[in-house]
């Protein structure tokens, strides 16, 4: 790496603090891999021919251009299926996980209406699941939203009690996008299987990060997307079980009957090739990558915890994605912290950073006070983050948190031993 890339940032909005820029650090620095991931160059390389020379329509049956495209799609189907322990025929291509979640929930609600109308989900799902559940509620479904415990996990006993004779579907995410906790998927799958209820999981954050096996875990339907695992945006897939049981899904997009009639529309061949390649790389490298990212994540956590007081880890660390760390820096407001580390891309659960001016509903579901939610930062480590970057980010965060705490009346009061919950605040 050339030295010219290591000049200190001149970006505005950061404190003039003396964290020197170590070698190997290029700003701005990306550490928000739950939002999206940069594409792996090997994925791009695999995709490129399908934009130009190999441009055929995979549905063209009469010439080599079509066959070539179909062959590429078939290979991708194999690559995806292998990563999750499925068979190629069980993979339906979509435009991404939002569509996959919509197709799964609406398609099952519609197809199984005669059997029942009850769906079970939980409160920290992604909006692509929650909003879809709200939609089917308007169309006559009954939806149970299970709570989560303080560690972010559902209580399997709650799920047992919620299933009744009208229940057709349980939809519970594999890994949470904010706090990185892994739900007890195998237990949920086993229970659903025993009770004859279909089990869908939004596995967007998990696929390629932790082992996923649709048979061992009794998953019937699974959503995934390419851009969370170093592939391109705009392409995803839905796994739909073909045996034990054979799952049927009513199409939500009508057209040429592509994808076994479940999802019409000309296939996005370059995107699908990219998704396939991303899955292949993940399958080969996941084990090593998970070890490396867990070590980096723990290093970040240790540094922050040992240098700052009043920090709070959000979500179970025992059942956790390798690259995720969600931490609250109590008495510091999240947006002001992001402003101080503005050459580092991370996310905050602070209301000030959201369009709705509400703090994260995920953190609130853990029972955290709004003030702790306002103070939260999500670090998302990924394939291309290095130890030098982790050290840089840790130093920077420590410095900015300390500076902001000098400004914080809440920190001063807490240090004086005042119980902030007993103060008569003037809410506004």
């Amino acid at each position: 790496m050339s030295t010219t890339q290591n000049q200190p940032s001149t970006a505005q909005g950061e404190f003039d603090v003396s964290v020197s820029l170590p070698p190997g650090i290029k700003l701005p620095l990306y550490m928000d891999n739950h939002a999206t991931t940069p594409m792996d160059p090997r994925v791009l390389e695999a995709m490129l021919p399908y934009f130009t020379d190999k441009f055929g329509n995979a549905a063209s049956r009469n010439h080599s251009f079509g066959w070539e495209a179909e062959q590429a799609v078939d290979t991708a189907r194999e690559q995806i299926a292998r990563l999750i322990g499925a068979t190629a025929k069980e993979i339906i291509f979509t435009s991404g996980a939002t569509e996959s979640n919509n197709l799964a929930i609406k398609g099952i609600a519609e197809m199984y209406r005669e059997r029942g109308n009850h769906i079970i989900t939980q409160v920290t799902e992604h909006k692509a699941v929650l909003d879809t559940c709200k939609r089917v509620e308007k169309q006559g479904c009954r939806v149970t939203y299970l709570p989560v415990k303080a560690d972010g996990l559902i209580d399997i006993e709650d799920l047992k009690r919620a299933i009744d004779d009208k229940t057709i579907l349980v939809t519970i995410m594999f890994a949470n996008n904010e706090i990185g906790v892994l739900q007890p998927i195998a237990e949920i799958g086993k229970l659903c299987h025993e009770r004859g209820v279909l089990f869908h999981t939004d596995a967007v954050q998990a696929v390629g990060k932790v082992p996923v096996d649709v048979n061992a875990m009794n998953i019937d339907v699974l959503s995934l997307t390419a851009h969370k695992l170093y592939g391109p945006k705009g392409v995803g897939a839905l796994y739909v079980r073909r045996r034990n049981p054979r799952v049927q899904i009513a199409p939500q997009i009508d057209g040429g009957g592509h994808e076994r009639g479940m999802r019409s529309g000309t296939l996005n061949v370059p995107g699908i090739v990219g998704l396939g390649k991303a899955c292949e790389i993940a399958r080969e490298e996941m084990h090593e990558e998970a070890k490396r990212l867990t070590a980096l994540r723990d290093r970040l956590k240790e540094k922050l915890e040992s240098n700052l007081d009043f920090v709070h880890i959000n979500g179970s660390m025992e059942h956790h994605l390798p690259g995720n760390l969600n931490m609250s820096f109590v008495h510091v407001e999240g947006e002001s912290l992001l402003m101080g580390i503005n050459d580092v891309a991370v996310s905050s659960g602070s209301a000030c950073t959201s369009a709705t001016l509400e703090p994260s509903y995920v953190l609130k579901a853990l029972g955290l006070g709004d003030d702790v939610a306002h103070s939260s930062i999500r670090f998302g480590l990924g394939r291309f983050n290095t130890q030098a970057e982790v050290d840089y980010v840790a130093d920077k965060v420590i410095d900015v948190v300390r500076k902001l705490r000098e400004l914080s009346p809440l920190y001063e009061m807490a240090k004086e031993g005042i119980d902030l919950t007993k103060v008569q605040w003037q809410a506004h």
Partner: protein
């Protein structure tokens, strides 16, 4: 989010950070906002009892960059003003000075509230003084 240069300047170099003796009769303290709303401001003023001029001001703020900048600016503006002049400061002046976007207007409102609360606290402590001054004035 794009911050104005003035917001960034106040955030990077906040003016008048600190605290004064809450118990002093010359000091008025305003604590406004709530942790669960994401912003709390504490603004303090030190008033010369004879001239009613705000001779010093200090603040501490928990909140976003715009909240920090609004309260930092408020301390700058109240200094040197009499309490009555300071009450003339409007949140819209702060919005204008800092070029706050619509979603950040509440930060300026909170800063105005903080000024009023600090002055209110000072006045409450100095009721006796005010009263005696008023009667002295009437006697003249």
């Amino acid at each position: 989010m794009a911050y104005s240069e003035k917001v960034i300047d106040h955030y990077k170099n906040p003016r008048n950070v600190g605290q004064m003796d809450k118990a002093s009769t010359e000091v008025g303290t305003g604590l406004v906002g709530a942790p669960e709303c994401g912003d709390v401001m504490r603004l303090q003023i030190k008033v010369n009892p004879a001239t009613r001029v705000i001779e010093d001001a200090k603040f501490k703020t928990f909140g976003c960059g715009s909240a920090i900048a609004s309260s930092s600016l408020a301390t700058e503006w109240v200094k040197g003003k009499t309490v009555d002049e300071a009450l003339e400061i409007k949140n819209t002046d702060i919005v204008k000075e800092l070029s706050l976007p619509p979603v950040k207007i509440h930060c300026s409102v909170l800063a105005e509230d903080a000024i009023r609360a600090a002055i209110g606290d000072w006045k409450k402590k100095n009721v006796a003084v005010e009263h005696s001054m008023a009667t002295a004035g009437a006697a003249n």
